[in-house]
């Protein structure tokens, strides 16, 4: 992944997929920023570590675009935290992101597995 001292780059690098991952995580239920990062890490089998430097800008961008809604609540450990919840628009966005992702994977897969001379 990107170098450690350039958060700006990292946002750019994972932007498309990070949005999708966050939205997917939120589809399971509302969650705060720390919870989201923990959830992504857990479901990816510790493989994906979402940097806070990418996570929070992404969350706020999603909020701004109306794909998630935020609300202050008490967490299970009785800590006041800002909980994010996916909106209807967010769900649509997730579906279209996921579809595009699928196509992209298929296309890349096609290129990677193409036989030479098929052109």
């Amino acid at each position: 992944m990107a170098t450690k001292n350039s958060y700006q780059n990292r946002i750019e690098l994972v932007q498309g997929t990070l949005d999708m991952l966050i939205l997917k995580t939120l589809q399971w239920g509302e969650q705060h920023g720390y919870g989201i990062s923990q959830a992504i890490r857990a479901t990816s089998g510790q493989a994906l570590q979402v940097e806070t430097g990418s996570l929070y800008p992404a969350l706020h961008r999603l909020e701004r675009q109306g794909w998630v809604k935020a609300e202050w609540k008490q967490s299970e450990s009785n800590q006041r935290a800002k909980f994010y919840k996916i909106t209807r628009l967010g769900k649509e966005q997730l579906a279209s992101d996921y579809e595009r992702w699928g196509k992209m994977v298929a296309i890349i897969e096609g290129i990677m597995t193409a036989e030479r001379g098929a052109l």
Binding site: Y7, T52, P57
Partner: protein, 905 residues
């Protein structure tokens, strides 16, 4: 802003809660609290930077997008310099012309006097031309704005509704004073206004230095005091503090300057040359030898008062009228049986006083309003032009929009982008327009008030004008940016991309054609206007004034202000004649009270002896023997005034032909006697002269009579000192050939007679006449300018539409030509399109123009309707412009290569 801070603390809290949870998790996993916190922080990363990047998601997005749009818009505008230049020029001229005129209108017609609380000031009367010194006679409609000192005092005493009621000299502009600082050599002819003692208090003013006039200054016998205007103090005396308290010679008599009026105060009315000095009314009798000051029946004052809070104007109007009627009741004109009938009608209409006496406004108002209309029309044409250009451009970019839309750009973003472009254009145009406005207003001021110094009108556009210009330009931008943007955004990308240039957007094209027709119609109206005003001006300038201005110089003098008393005048005039005849090249030395084509005059009520019906007002001029020759007035019968007609010789007069016609029905007048109604035999008519035009060209056939300058009516038993008609106002010098340093020679010669005898004004006779046509010339030039502008704009508009339609129809024209259409046929087809639009424009414009003539008729000289010459001229100009606009695209159409045009898509 609040939202911004709330988000900032909100984010801080969010991060803190993240850290707490992370720390708690670590503690749960067995780390020490301190290490857990440290590690959580480390894991989180650069806290302030993350916070900042996160915040950016909110803050700057909109601004960023705007900057993107602006950058893109600028790039687009740079890519099409011809379009951009045309639009900017159109806007700059359209908005500039409007803002310039509005600046002037704002400054002249709408501006309040720079005084305290102008809203509570009331002018008693509503006529700034009810001037200047006249006997209080009966009037049919009973409206008065000009009053005697006595009437003023009665009103002041009997109207407690006024906190202050001030009076001011109506005709000071016609009676300059001569002022010289004690000890200084040069005397100057300057403007002085005689005002009541409470004048400055009424306006709520504070002195710049020293003190202002007070009631005690305006008492009979008070030591003469004067207040100097700030501008005079600065320009003539460099703001010298010693001026306050120093003695000046006003008309040779000592006066103490007690203070300086506040900066920016230009008196109670707008004037081309505002007063340099303000003097108390009661000093006028001695300073200006004006006996009428205390004559209860001579009107010479305007009145402005400040009403007390809560006073209703309705009842006050009633009371003012009643008080006036009371004051007039005892006067001679109203005490006769006949005069009494007029008394109930006597009134002074109360009008707002905050803008001062409206003399200048009444003179220029109609011109300015007309100019506003014209500038408005030009703006309309400019807007139509811009609408057209934006439409054409918007349609031309349909493919681009389709591509952007196909690539995923939102409709709202495209519309916003196009709007940004048009508003940017409009804004830039507005800025340029302001520059044009500034220059234009200056030019207008110079044209309208040539040679004016200390003019209290600024060319600098005020905030109101800047706001007006920008509102106008942004409105234009939005209005005409939206339509093409909307049309472009409506386009279904796929359709637009597929059909390319072959779509016909008939609704748009109809809109464009309508705009062009409208432009043509408006241009015609303006061209007809320009033609009419030019014709009017040329008629004015070519009118036979029955005078000769060649090698003649008009010198205004003021022997009264120079200190001459009535009995010294005869000797003075003889000295002037002798000294000037001694100047090489001088042929004639005319001396008179008034000269032809001068905006002041003196009229008397005259009767012819033994001729009951022959009575009425006649212009009255006193003159010396050389006078008629010096101005070029020709004698038609009898003799002129000659050297024998001294003060002791029998009273004689020369009348003009109009007098003979009007008073005597053309009968031979030689030997008849005329005079005032109470002494009809004062003067014997000895000659008849041509109708040389005095005062105003509109009075070119006014009856006049001329009397030798030193002769007084035998019936006049008043002391000679009170006879103002003995004082000459002008000399007319006729020379054998043009003399370059005539002004210097004149000043020297006069100064050698008496240093106080200064030149009030020196002009060639031609210059003096030309000044009378300033207003007409201004209107004629500006209508010409605006007419040309309108024509240019309409031509550009027509060209744009025709060029666009040729471009759009290129494939169609290609097919026609492939099928055998001749080049000539194609040219004719395109030209026909352009000409039809112009013809439609004419069909609308001609009746409108004919209708409009009615509204400007009063401002035209001897023109009642648009004649064939003006009409033909305007139509031909428009037709030629149409041909020019049409021929370029037509030739391009004819040069279309069928094969290429067909292959293009």
């Amino acid at each position: 802003m609040n939202l911004f801070f709330r988000r900032k603390t909100d984010l801080k809290e969010e991060i803190e809660s993240h850290l707490k949870m992370a720390t708690a998790d670590r503690i749960a996993r067995g780390e020490s609290p301190a290490a857990a916190r440290r590690e959580a922080m480390r894991e989180f990363g650069n806290l302030p930077l993350i916070a900042e990047i996160t915040r950016e998601r909110w803050g700057w997005l909109r601004l960023e997008r705007l900057m993107q749009d602006l950058r893109f818009a600028l790039r687009q505008l740079r890519r099409t310099p011809a379009f951009t230049t045309t639009v900017l020029l159109t806007l700059a001229l359209g908005i500039g012309a409007n803002a310039a005129i509005f600046t002037l209108v704002n400054a002249v017609l709408l501006k309040d006097l720079p005084v305290a609380d102008p809203k509570t000031l009331v002018h008693l009367g509503n006529d700034g031309h009810d001037c200047c010194v006249g006997h209080n006679g009966t009037r049919e409609e009973g409206a008065y704005s000009n009053f005697s000192t006595d009437t003023y005092q009665q009103l002041k005493k009997n109207l407690p509704e006024f906190e202050e009621l001030a009076a001011m000299q109506a005709g000071w502009a016609y009676r300059p004073i001569i002022a010289r600082r004690d000890g200084a050599l040069a005397a100057r002819s300057v403007m002085g206004e005689f005002v009541s003692g409470n004048y400055f208090r009424t306006f709520g003013l504070r002195p710049e230095a020293g003190r202002l006039l007070i009631d005690a200054d305006d008492l009979p016998g008070a030591p003469p005091a004067a207040v100097m205007s700030y501008e005079t103090w600065q320009h003539e005396f460099g703001g010298d503090a010693a001026v306050v308290g120093s003695t000046f010679r006003v008309n040779t008599k000592p006066v103490t300057v007690v203070g300086i009026a506040p900066r920016g105060f230009f008196g109670d009315r707008m004037a081309v040359a505002p007063p340099d000095f303000y003097l108390p009314i009661q000093t006028m009798a001695s300073l200006a030898n004006a006996s009428y000051v205390n004559d209860p029946e001579t009107n010479w004052l305007y009145m402005i008062g400040r009403v007390k809070p809560g006073v209703a104007l309705g009842p006050l109007q009633q009371k003012v009228n009643a008080t006036l009627q009371q004051a007039f009741a005892t006067q001679s004109s109203f005490s006769t049986v006949n005069g009494k009938k007029f008394l109930p009608r006597v009134h002074a209409t109360l009008s707002p006083g905050g803008e001062g006496i409206q003399t200048l406004q009444e003179g220029y108002g109609s011109h300015l309003h007309l100019l506003m209309w014209i500038a408005g029309l030009v703006l309309l044409i400019a807007c139509a032009n811009i609408a057209n250009l934006l439409l054409v451009r918007g349609l031309g970019r349909r493919t681009e929009m389709s591509v952007r839309s196909a690539l995923g750009a939102k409709r709202s973003r495209i519309v916003r982008q196009l709007l940004t472009e048009s508003i940017l254009l409009a804004g830039l145009g507005g800025l340029l327009g302001l520059a044009v406005a500034y220059g234009g207003a200056r030019m207008l001021l110079v044209l309208a008030f040539p040679g004016a110094q200390n003019l209290p009108i600024e060319a600098r556009p005020s905030f109101a004008v800047i706001g007006f210009a920008f509102a106008l330009s942004v409105l234009t931008g939005i209005l005409f940016g939206v339509a093409p943007a909307w049309i472009s955004a409506q386009a279904r990308p796929a359709d637009a991309l597929r059909s390319g240039a072959r779509t016909t957007a008939s609704a748009t094209s109809l809109l464009q054609r309508t705009l062009v027709v409208l432009q043509a119609a408006l241009s015609l109206v303006l061209l007809v206007g320009a033609g009419l005003f030019s014709q009017s001006l040329s008629k004015l300038e070519n009118t036979d004034l029955k005078l000769d201005a060649r090698n003649r110089y008009v010198v205004h003098i003021n022997p009264q202000a120079a200190g001459y008393s009535g009995i010294q005048l005869g000797a003075l005039y003889r000295t002037i004649e002798d000294r000037f005849h001694a100047v090489p090249g001088v042929v004639k030395v005319g001396i008179s009270t008034y000269v032809p084509m001068e905006d002041d005059r003196w009229s008397n009520y005259i009767v012819v002896q033994n001729y009951a019906e022959a009575k009425g007002l006649a212009g009255f001029v006193k003159a010396n023997a050389d006078y008629f020759d010096s101005v070029g007035t020709k004698l038609v019968m009898g003799r002129g005034i000659d050297v024998r007609d001294t003060s002791t010789a029998p009273g004689v007069t020369v009348v003009n032909q109009a007098f003979v016609q009007e008073f005597l029905g053309g009968e031979n007048p030689i030997g008849m006697r005329i005079g005032a109604p109470d002494s009809p035999g004062d003067f014997e008519i000895v000659g008849v002269v041509e109708n040389t035009v005095y005062t105003d060209i509109h009075l070119k056939n006014d009856p006049m009579y001329f009397v030798p300058i030193m002769q007084r009516p035998a019936s006049n038993k008043d002391p000679i000192e009170q006879d103002l008609s003995l004082y000459a106002g002008t000399m007319v010098l006729q020379t054998a050939h043009p003399i370059n340093d005539m002004e210097k020679l004149t000043r020297q010669t006069l100064a050698s007679i008496n240093p106080n005898l200064t030149v009030v004004q020196f002009q060639t006779f031609g210059e003096q006449i030309a000044v009378q046509f300033t207003g007409q010339r201004l209107i004629a030039r500006l209508t010409m300018l605006f007419g040309a502008l309108a024509l240019l704009l309409a031509t550009i508009g027509l060209y744009g539409v025709t060029a666009y339609s040729v471009e759009r129809r290129a494939p169609e024209i290609g097919i026609r030509m492939a099928l055998g259409a001749e080049r000539g046929g194609v040219v004719a087809m395109v030209m026909r399109g352009a000409l039809i639009q112009t013809a439609l424009g004419l069909a609308i414009g001609i009746p409108v123009a004919l209708l409009c003539v009615r509204f400007v008729k009063t401002q035209l000289y001897e023109i009642a309707s648009a004649d064939a010459r003006v009409m033909t001229g305007a139509i031909v100009a428009l037709a030629v412009a149409t041909c020019v606009a049409g021929i370029i695209p037509a030739r391009r159409a004819a040069s279309i290569d069928p094969a290429r045009a067909l292959r293009a898509d």
